[in-house]
């Protein structure tokens, strides 16, 4: 009897001790550092294939879709793509979610080996595709390219999309990212304003600066602006003009981190030209304004033109005044001996989607992409969010907004004369350095030569850094 309280106390103590240690051990192993599970590699669990199900996806396993809730919203997924997928695979349950913070939401799931099947990796907080590719987290999408297209079983998916999309979606030799949209850059203006004022779209640099002078003299609005807080908007323009002057090689050298690529003459010429525009024609305060503020000023008629991508019309749809009539024009000829002809545009497949290699049901993710790439899905997407896609001819016969129509016309005019650069996605630290330096270039704190030297230094640093995986394009 005398022993009883003691044993009870001991029991309590050991229980408390166990209670202290066990959860601690459990919590530790579930913390930030990844634990075990390194191997789970690509294992396509293909079932029986059929005409309706050429990839042979299991009809009883769920498919998780994560959409970036940004400029494009999530409606296109819930209203167009998901129902279309379901129409052929009624048994597959779709778990849909949307977030503005892709990396924060998903990074822990990748680290713990439980990623969602399908990810729309986009926005300022997207995951680093280079890092994901390096770790074998991206599902090989070659099967998608070789699969019959959704619309016509006799045509492969590969032949229904822009070839540049395949190039851009290839990381480390494998096509494993699907860039769905086709973004086109140019100088945006209000067609209504230009028509009223009798201003012509400039085709040469002299016409361009002449137009800027006219607007400046008139004094009712500023001639030009760009999103000063995000100098990407203007370095994009500088690089596209450089490519137009010197040819596609100029940007390839830059992407391949060639020494001297930034000091090449076309790049310096272009930087000098835009720096001059910056010094003479910018809207007051431009360097401190972001894209929303400058676009709003544009809508309000405080500025005549700004460089932007084809998403702008959709992004501004709530603030664009009636009859504004967005339109864009390609960069004017710098001299008559430019390497690329008039009409050359920066056109680049973007808005990345991938299937997680280590997810439970990757094939369903691939099948979902196949649905996205149908003409019907792409066309309705284009109407809904005013953004062109990589699906050829998806806009045919659709009712397009004025801005989108001018984008389509510009693309048609450009034909094969398109350019793009890839270092922004490949080497984010380099993008940040180019952006920072370009901001300084535009405010006159760096000469074009100093600007180029600074970026050259960063490029050399990245090239010499063995911890960063290098990419090349040919």
């Amino acid at each position: 009897m005398a022993n009883t309280p003691l044993t009870r106390r001991e029991l309590l103590r050991s229980a408390a001790l166990a209670g202290m240690l066990l959860p601690a051990a459990g919590a530790l192993s579930a913390c930030a550092t990844p634990a075990g599970d390194s191997g789970a590699s690509q294992a396509p669990t293909a079932g029986a294939t059929s005409a309706a199900n050429p990839l042979g996806i299991p009809q009883d396993k769920p498919l998780e879709i994560v959409i970036f809730d940004g400029g494009l919203g999530e409606k296109y997924a819930t209203d167009i793509h998901e129902p279309l997928f379901k129409s052929k695979h009624t048994g597959v349950e779709i778990k849909h979610s949307a977030t503005k913070e892709i990396a924060k939401t998903l990074q822990p799931r990748f680290a713990s080996g439980n990623p969602p099947e399908f990810v729309n990796n986009s926005g300022a907080n997207a995951m680093d595709l280079g890092a994901l590719a390096q770790d074998g987290q991206l599902y090989d999408l070659t099967a998608l390219l070789d699969a019959p297209s959704w619309d016509d079983p006799n045509v492969k998916v590969r032949d229904t999309i822009l070839p540049s999309a395949i190039e851009l979606g290839t990381y480390g030799g494998t096509f494993n990212v699907l860039p769905y949209c086709n973004t086109v850059w140019g100088i945006w203006y209000s067609k209504k304003l230009f028509d009223e004022e009798g201003w012509q779209v400039p085709k040469t640099w002299a016409e361009f600066t002449g137009l800027l002078d006219t607007i400046k003299k008139q004094g009712r609005m500023a001639p030009f602006t760009y999103a000063g807080k995000h100098p990407f908007y203007i370095y994009e323009t500088i690089l596209t003009l450089a490519a137009k002057i010197g040819g596609v090689e100029v940007l390839k050298n830059i992407d391949n981190l060639q020494p001297g690529a930034w000091n090449a003459e076309p790049v310096i010429t272009s930087a000098t030209a835009w720096q001059e525009i910056g010094a003479k024609y910018l809207m007051e305060g431009t360097t401190g304004l972001d894209h929303i503020q400058t676009q709003l000023a544009h809508n309000k008629g405080q500025v005549a033109m700004l460089p932007n991508g084809s998403w702008v019309e959709n992004e501004q749809k709530d603030t664009t005044p009636e009859g504004f009539t967005y339109a864009m024009f390609p960069l004017p000829d710098f001299t008559s001996s430019d390497a690329m002809p008039y009409g050359t545009v920066h056109s680049r497949p973007g808005e990345d989607y991938f299937v997680s290699a280590k997810s439970a049901n990757p094939l369903a993710g691939v099948e979902y992409m196949r649905a996205m790439l149908s003409k019907d899905a792409a066309g309705r997407f284009m109407e809904l969010v005013s953004t062109p896609t990589i699906v050829k001819g998806a806009g045919d016969g659709r009712r397009l907004t004025p801005g989108l129509e001018s984008v389509a016309a510009a693309l048609q005019q450009a034909g094969t004369n398109t350019t793009f650069f890839r270092f922004r996605q490949w080497y984010l630290p380099m993008h940040d350095e180019v952006a920072a330096a370009t901001g300084q270039l535009m405010s006159g704190r760096l000469t074009p030569k100093q600007w180029a030297d600074r970026i050259e230094k960063k490029a050399a640093e990245i090239k010499g850094d063995s911890s960063i995986v290098k990419f090349t394009r040919t």
């Binding site: 408390a16 202290m20 959860p23 601690a24 919590a27 530790l28 913390c31 930030a32 550092t33 990844p34 634990a35 075990g36 599970d37 390194s38 990396a103 924060k104 990074q107 990748f110 680290a111 080996g113 907080n125 995951m127 680093d128 890092a131 994901l132 390096q134 770790d135 987290q137 000063g228 807080k229 995000h230 100098p231 809207m283 007051e284 305060g285 431009t286 360097t287 401190g288 304004l289 972001d290 984010l428 630290p429 940040d432 952006a435 920072a436 330096a437 901001g439 300084q440 405010s443 704190r445 911890s467």
Partner: protein, 300 residues
């Protein structure tokens, strides 16, 4: 009885200590480990690379600029905040004409001064983006242009941006320290002020000879808090400035570089190395601050 009490105390402490170990100590320990790997955040098998990250850190000019900015904030933010807060608190408590009561409307001001503290930091940052608008119609710039001057690029001029950040940080912190110092002053016996003013002490003498020495403990605590806050500055810089710490890294701070390297460049190992450095800076600061400000305590 003594044994029972010890058990009683231990029983109460076990849970908090456990939570502390799991959620504070363990992640810290992990950060030290991650700092010695090349982990990119998604891999299941990070590679151990020893002190390589720290060696790279030595050559990282942006990081050292960030350290320098933290240094500037570490010196100026506590000085300005404590200075202004002391001044306001003194006026609110003993600054009245009689010398023993606050100025008229003290209660009202106390509430007003506290307002910034109530706002979330991110909201403050967005608010000040508007205040600092670079165009002539911006809140501050409309005053500047009314004076016939060119609009100032508060956040777009790299020579000015850091001062704008400092201004926001001080603006936000002052209110809390006004309240803290007011509480400290309220606990100083009234008769001390009365005795001093009967002896002919003016407001300045009251402040330096009576208030300051008796408030020293409170100020010291405020100093350490503000110093740590200055080393930890993040949200205001990240949300308010261009390029998250720009333009051209002119406002970046250690925490911003950690965030950028971890969540934008996906260099978790390298970012953890920065975190480890920041940890030692913070601990070092706390030790130094407490050492330096140790002073005879006035009993009352």
């Amino acid at each position: 009885m003594r044994y029972h009490r010890a058990r009683f105390v231990a029983g109460f402490l076990a849970l908090p200590v456990l939570l502390y170990v799991v959620y504070v100590i363990a992640p810290y320990a992990q950060a030290f480990y991650i700092a010695m790997t090349n982990w990119r955040g998604v891999s299941a098998t990070p590679q151990f690379i020893g002190l390589e990250n720290f060696r790279r850190l030595l050559d990282d000019s942006v990081f050292w600029r960030a350290v320098a900015h933290n240094g500037v904030l570490l010196v100026l933010m506590p000085v300005l905040t404590i200075g202004i807060a002391l001044f306001f608190a003194f006026l609110l408590n003993v600054g009245g004409t009689s010398g023993v009561a606050g100025i008229r409307g003290a209660r009202f001001y106390r509430v007003v001064f506290f307002f910034p503290q109530v706002l979330a930091v991110a909201i403050v940052a967005v608010l000040f983006q508007q205040v600092f608008q670079p165009r002539g119609n911006g809140m501050l710039n409309s005053v500047v242009t009314a004076l016939g001057l060119e609009p100032i690029g508060f956040l777009s001029n790299p020579d000015i941006a850091l001062w704008s950040v400092l201004g926001v940080l001080v603006w936000q912190a002052v209110g809390f320290y006004v309240v803290l110092f007011s509480a400290g002053m309220a606990s100083i016996p009234r008769d001390m002020f009365e005795a001093a003013s009967i002896d002919g002490a003016g407001r300045v003498q009251l402040f330096f000879r009576v208030t300051l020495p008796l408030l020293w403990d409170t100020i010291q605590v405020g100093w350490v808090y503000l110093g740590i806050a200055a080393l930890d500055v993040f949200a205001v810089v990240w949300v308010m400035t261009a390029e998250h710490g720009g333009p051209d890294s002119s406002t970046t701070v250690m925490a911003a570089e950690i965030y950028r390297n971890a969540f934008q460049y996906f260099r978790f190992g390298y970012a953890s190395a920065m975190g480890v450095v920041l940890f030692f800076f913070t601990v070092g600061f706390a030790v130094v601050a407490l050492r330096l400000s140790r002073r005879e305590r006035v009993e009352f």
